[in-house]
């Protein structure tokens, strides 16, 4: 569980996150949604300490991350897995080497065990045949799946996904969404996903937080988001013609 208490963050006097408090639950896919510039990415970067918060606390299962030293943060981060928007795979390494990287750095596994673990993670994301390919040789969807495999290699307690299906076609997006949800439930991970894709919201939104102008504006799940009378949330949800039609159809 990740407990965020009253965090704020500004850049050059411009408030990006304004007194946000929320809880990301264990074993659930927690989605942070909002339009561009709402503060989603800054919130995620604060969660993993790529940015320091100006005030407030972030507690990982009771461990205060904001007050920790760099060394303590590095220890807590070993429980993190992160899937970046572009994958952030290491170009000079093969798919298998990318997945093996955290194991080589932080585990005490023997080479044979490590190979088994890499095989398991790549099988889990249906990429068992891509071991020896380089990131430049695989598609965007495959890169995301390799990034997921790398993120789960060390059995993380917390998984962060920054727009995991941006740039992907709808079918591949659903595959990635379902994969993240399955992994979250299977390994009881606290998963935080940044997205502005409404398909993802309805597919895997077990808990949804809507950010607007740096504030937590609304909280609910994939069922309640379609029923809410919050005007800003409705503007966001029903921005596309597809969802407008769905609403019209359900009301008629």
């Amino acid at each position: 569980m990740i407990d965020i208490q009253h965090i704020s963050k500004s850049f050059d006097g411009r408030v990006i996150l304004d007194d946000i408090s929320l809880v990301f639950e264990e074993g659930k896919t927690n989605l942070v949604i909002g339009s561009s510039g709402s503060g989603k990415t800054v919130l995620m970067k604060c969660l993993v300490s790529l940015y320091q918060v100006d005030q407030g606390q972030i507690l990982y299962d009771g461990r205060d991350f904001t007050e920790s030293s760099e060394e303590e943060k590095r220890e807590i981060r070993k429980d993190f897995g992160m899937v970046f928007q572009g994958g952030a795979l290491f170009d000079s390494q093969t798919v298998a080497e990318n997945v093996a990287f955290p194991l080589e750095m932080f585990s005490v596994m023997q080479p044979a065990e490590m190979r088994d673990r890499v095989d398991f993670c790549l099988n889990r994301v249906n990429l068992s045949s891509a071991h020896d390919l380089y990131p430049s040789q695989i598609s965007g969807g495959m890169k995301k799946r390799v990034a997921i495999a790398r993120a789960i290699a060390l059995n993380p307690k917390y998984l962060f996904c920054d727009e995991p299906n941006s740039g992907l076609d709808p079918k591949t997006s659903i595959v990635i969404d379902n994969l993240i949800q399955e992994i979250t439930e299977e390994f009881n991970i606290t998963t935080v996903i940044n997205t502005h894709d409404m398909n993802s919201v309805l597919e895997i939104g077990q808990k949804i937080i809507y950010l607007n102008k740096g504030k937590k504006w609304w909280e609910g799940d994939k069922n309640s988001i379609l029923e809410t009378d919050n005007a800003e949330v409705n503007d966001f949800v029903y921005a596309s013609e597809l969802f407008k039609r769905i609403r019209r159809a359900s009301h008629s």
């Binding site: 590095r74 928007q85 572009g86 952030a88 170009d91 955290p102 750095m105």
Partner: protein, 246 residues
Amino acid sequence: MAVFQSLGHYFLFVWVVFSKPQQWRRFWKQWLYEVNSLGINSLPIIAIISMFIGAALTIQTAYNIDSPFIPLYAVGLATRDSIILEFSPTIISLILAGKVGSSIASELGTMRVTEQIDALEIMGVNSGSFLVLPKIIAALFINPFLVIISMFIGITGGWIFGVLAGVVSTTEFVYGLQSFFQPFYITYALIKTVVFAFLITSISSYFGYYAQGGALEVGSSSTKAVVYSSIFVLVLNYLLTQVLLS
């Protein structure tokens, strides 16, 4: 004020880089890769430049000796001292600042803008030490060898082309090489080389590591890396010469 801020930021970066590697096996593997990438791969360009600069130095020196009171073996002596004292340690380091410096800055800059450095940090890896320390240690190790090879090829080039051009004989050139030799010149050249190797790799890494934005900014950080590395090599060249030779 901004200059002092940047200097402070650079020294903090160097402090982080010189932390104990989290995984020694990985460090040595990366170090070996960097020795090849930064050092061995630079050998052809260093050999070509050293050979022709040595040749030009010999011929120019010979043509400039007009006085009958200056013996012709001075050509060998002047070529040797020019190459050992200045050309090999300083000019080769400036060339490496261009070749190696831009390569380091663009590699790290690309890793930064594609979030690969963020990925390392989030995994709990000290990215500064992991990525930069092997480069610095590799350059500190391999650059002195490159400079010694450059000295050898430069002097050999001077001898071969000097003789081919008919401006000096082998006997005179070799006699000049053996005359008034001061072994400290080699020590002085190697001290400079090690200092320059540190400057080139750390400054270039600094600009690459903190690149922000996209392809344009990576290009700009690469240019800054070469410019600042070259300026600091030249300034330190003057200071070290003043301290070590005066």
